[in-house]
Amino acid sequence: MEKFKITILQIIIISYREFLKWWRNKFKVITTVIQPFIWTIFFGLGLGKIVNINEIARAINYQGEISYLLFIFPGMISTTVIFISFNFGHSFVEEKERGFLRPLILSPTPDWVIVLGKILSAGFIGALQGLIVNLLGFIYFKEISITFLTFPALLVLGILTATLGIFLGLFFKKAGSYDILLFYVIIPAILLSGAYFPVELTPLWMIRLAQFNPFYYGVETVKKVFVFSLSLEKDFSNLKELIITKGIGIFEGALYTFLFIAFFFVLINVIIKNKSLD
């Protein structure tokens, strides 16, 4: 029991350390929140004029009024979470490169505890910034919704991204090289996640490919939470029915995302078992 308590404390302290390092870099905090907000304005109000929203609504089986801004907002928040959480993979490689990871890996704390602490903090920070963008959208755009399920959905997506980031980071010795993943893995994976257009409207091979894309499930969960939230706003009296109808979809998306998290987490631990993180 004592050992369990210490392990929990170690996970919390590793997460808290990462959180403090992020929080004290105010410039980074502010710019990462503002950037997606600006993107949303340009995408939503600009691209929204030329996109056939009715076709999108049919593809995602959405009944009710929808604008392109409303469609891409959850995708934009998901992108924020993914970028921020994935950037922790960069920090992880940089820490390896510059030796800052050594005090952690040469401590008696098991490597899986160190990795878990880092993943949780990266997921939390990503989700927190996503939530701030969501709140700004809620205030500014009016039609944007928010609910008690928003943060958990963003957190799951953030944890997924951080796990993937650290997994990929294990194969890099230089943080500069890791950044290339952003263009070759992350951006294509975001595009194939349904964040900006429904995957259902793409060719069959892209639909098949999307099924192997972990972000597809994470982003789907966030989008389903938004639909749930919108429906709830319209008719609160139907909460029970909504939980049954929409809740199953949210649970399904979250479950698949968790399976990907577990898969990558196990892989990380298999790799680091006999290999130093240095």
């Binding site: 170690q10 302290i13 390092k21 800052f100 040469l106 401590s107 130093s276």
Partner: protein, 228 residues
């Protein structure tokens, strides 16, 4: 009794041998110096001794544990790296506190340990300052304090006095001697300074990854002064 045993270790980076067939043992309570010019393999040897990296060939045993069981011996080793590994954006107290928790201490014990070490190294007034605001000498003291937080049996230091002025170097050495004499702590260190090597009990000389000498510091100075 031999606490640290290094048997036939070899480490390559590509085709270059960083270390080749190194053998030695370190006894309990001795100050063991590793000397050599830049690129001799000192830092690679320190990384292997602290189990940060694995040798390509050979074996390092610390208290009978090898690389696979490195977490078991982690509590017995205190490590000061050549480059600073403190989080510069965090305060001295935060850096030390996080380290204590990683070594399995409770929050209250950690706070007491920090208080005692800050008093020993005389940096109580800097506890709530960020590392980035400290001088090089104080940073080094904090690094050594962090390595000593869990009362290790062996203190391993890679160029502990590098970049420090004479006064700070002398002060650090007085701490090192005190730890060795009063607590019987085994100390392994690398250094470029001859006056520091003379304070070691035994010395290992490396050159281009090969062992050139292993013996007492007196013998070393007698044989090598002016040559290394």
């Amino acid at each position: 009794m031999r606490f640290i045993s290094v048997k036939n270790i070899t480490k390559r980076y590509g085709n270059v041998f960083a270390l080749e067939n190194i053998n030695f043992e370190v006894k309990e309570g001795e100050i063991f110096g590793i000397v050599g010019p830049n690129g001799a393999g000192k830092s690679t040897l320190i990384k292997i001794l602290t189990m940060a990296i694995k040798p390509d060939e050979g074996e390092v045993l610390i208290y009978g544990s090898d690389f696979k069981n490195r977490k078991k011996v982690a509590k017995k080793l205190g490590i000061v790296f050549q480059e600073t590994t403190l989080d510069v954006i965090l305060t001295v107290r935060e850096n030390l506190f996080f380290h204590a928790i990683l070594f399995g201490f409770s929050s209250s014990i950690s706070k007491n340990l920090i208080k005692n070490l800050a008093s020993f190294f005389n940096f109580e007034n800097y506890l709530d300052m960020k590392i980035s605001e400290l001088s090089g000498g104080t940073r080094r003291k904090v690094e050594i304090a962090r390595a000593l937080l869990h009362s290790p049996k062996v203190l391993v230091m890679d160029e502990p006095t590098l970049g420090l002025d004479i006064e700070s170097r002398n002060q650090l050495w007085s701490y090192i001697k005190e730890l060795n004499e009063k607590n019987g702590m085994t100390i392994i260190l690398t250094s470029h300074y001859l006056e520091e090597i003379s304070l070691c009990d035994r010395v290992l000389v490396l050159d281009s990854g090969k062992m050139r000498f292993l013996g007492s510091s007196k013998e070393f100075i007698k044989n090598f002064y002016g040559k290394v």
